[in-house]
Subunit: 375 residues, 2 copies
């Protein structure tokens, strides 16, 4: 079976499998990405509260940034005139941009869909804008990420009639994205939709597989459906998507979901959760989530996690973090973001290693037990 | 003339003089400080928006932290039980704590003074507290800084009657601080007061010099008086303070004030200005102050200062900083704080070098011209 996909500017190799779990490598013009991988999100060209130097130190391999936000502010032309997103935000490793679809469809009443695309109202100043597959490609070309995403429609997961309609539109838009794709070597991924309906997910995966994208995302999940539905959909889709293409589960970022996603053959994940939790005073560990704002931490000299090797756990007590939170010091968000991203980066690395060593199931069992048990 | 002061835990050497400007070295239990030096402020045991690792990278030699704030939150006992301030905030280089005096006297109607000390109302929860020289010494002992400050009264600079009264109280309190001084090797500095009145400043410097503190601060300046008055007071005081003791000008932190203070023989400075300016979108350069929020920066690919070697100027454009400010990203405060602290740290270093090379006047002339000329 084919285990490699290759274009001039994009290579993906699956090195090892253990069950459905895969260990591989993506090669882009800005460097390599060992998979499975967690991608932190820099919505507005900044991973909140962290410098690129801190992200390097965290061994982050690839960042995601959002086309919708960057289009509205500062605008793709500003970023292009500053040398593209890598230079603008000073991140010389790989970047992936989404298509703007997810954000636009999240605007609710502020948007109107037709076959051509979507009209929407800016959340910043109320101005009117249109996104189409072609416009999304043009914006993402100017941003200059290594991996760009097809413009898709992300409907509420439980409405079948709407999901059928949206899926067909997503497929037609995928074809338009392929035609309008930048000629500069950016790699375009397709996005599977279909809500929580196995027949739609199957049809969508099949349709897009036939379009021969170099990589695929599973969209429309982690948007309110049950964990059981989410995993069932991943399973259906991954049974159809070609083995030699990377699979990216969009918007997923708990340790539990990474474990189960990787077990089902997912290679890439992104989520704002680690940095958002951090701003809400929560630390994610492999023994569950901890609220540092809790008064019980006020005198606690121990780190968040004595087994964690991150800068925060190596150098700061819970008492100090609790103090920073009480005193509303920005450093709290920085130190907790460092810890939370470290947790997911190292989790993906550990699972990768376990796949290479054919110990994946054993490691997953340990991790699931630890996550359930808590502190 | 004596150029050295030495205790078991504190050494100060003046290596070189050029005019009144001095280059020296302080040795503390947590390491050396090359003077003149700028000390960033970590009011609540955190230099706002920066990690200790970033402060190390900025070659910060010594931090200041505030007794008033730490006493109220998290409390000196919490910090002591976490191993002291160095461990609590993970800063293993020298620390200086103030006495709480300045903050308490800034509370206005929220405080009441008598000979014993000051009763005040917490700005956090309205609770009542008393600071006395003895209590300030006890709190600072628990915090565990290398250098601690005498408890003084800092009156409005232009009211002579009040300044006479406050100065006498400050002198009596200085003697009580010496008696109540921790026995653990912390180094206690005295503080000269006297408003903008040369005769009071002279009397205060003389009185405190006779008490033989290992170092002296000039307090009660940079609180609303003119630059001319400030410099005149520094001159009067430094003519009396012993040559072999370090001189610390409290609360001063513009490049202009560092230059003129060093020219008058000051060795140490602290100020919240670099981090406060950063949170208000301003960059301090040696060509003046720049407001990054200005729309003119939106498309500006140049760094804040092309001649600056800081992480921010080496890696980020004004357009990116302006974008971070518009998008309300915390990273703006971090990157501007890095730049602003770098500017003052490097300025002190450059002036120190010029003193060692007997080029101080020349370098000051260049710096004054550059600061006046602007961009």
């Amino acid at each position: 079976m084919e285990k490699t996909t290759k274009t001039n500017t994009f290579t993906f190799d699956v090195f090892a499998k253990d069950g459905s779990a895969r260990a591989g490598r993506i090669i882009t013009p800005h460097g390599n990405v060992e998979t499975p991988v967690f991608m932190p999100v820099g919505t507005q060209a900044s991973v909140k509260a962290l410098t690129p130097a801190q992200l390097h130190e965290l061994q982050v391999q690839i960042l995601l940034s959002n086309t919708y936000h960057l289009y509205l502010r500062p605008g793709e032309d500003t970023i292009a005139s500053c040398g593209g997103l890598h230079t603008f935000m000073n991140w010389q490793k790989p970047i992936l941009t989404d298509s703007g679809g997810y954000q636009v469809f999240s605007l609710g009443k502020l948007r109107k869909i037709d076959e051509e695309g979507v009209w929407f109202t800016s959340h910043i100043d109320g101005s009117k804008h249109q996104f189409t597959p072609e416009i999304s490609m043009q914006i993402q070309e100017k941003l200059g990420a290594d991996i760009i995403m097809a413009f898709d429609e992300c409907p509420p997961p439980h409405d079948k009639t709407y999901n059928i309609e949206a899926m067909h539109r997503t497929h037609l838009w995928a074809e338009r994205c392929l035609k309008a794709k930048p000629k500069n070597g950016q790699t375009l991924f397709g996005i599977v939709q279909g809500g929580i309906f196995p027949d739609l997910r199957e049809a969508s995966a099949q349709y897009l597989a036939n379009l021969n994208f170099p990589g695929y995302a599973i969209g429309g999940l982690s948007v309110g459906e049950s964990k059981r539905d989410m995993l069932a959909m991943i399973k259906v889709v991954n049974a159809i998507l070609p083995e030699n293409k990377p699979r990216y589960l969009m918007g997923v970022g708990t340790p539990e979901d990474l474990i189960e996603g990787i077990a089902q053959g997912v290679d890439m994940f992104d989520c704002v959760l680690p940095t958002r939790l951090a701003r809400h005073h929560a630390a994610q560990t492999l023994r569950g989530r901890i609220n540092l704002a809790n008064a019980a931490n006020s005198q606690n000299e121990r780190p968040i996690d004595p087994d964690c090797g991150c800068y925060t756990c190596q150098n700061f007590s819970r008492a100090y973090l609790k103090h920073l939170i009480s005193a509303r010091e920005m450093l709290a968000a920085t130190l907790l973001s460092i810890h939370n991203i470290h947790t997911l980066v190292k989790l993906a690395e550990r699972l990768r290693q376990s796949i290479l060593e054919k110990q994946f199931d054993l490691v997953c069992q340990e991790l699931r037990a630890s996550l359930q048990q808590g502190e």
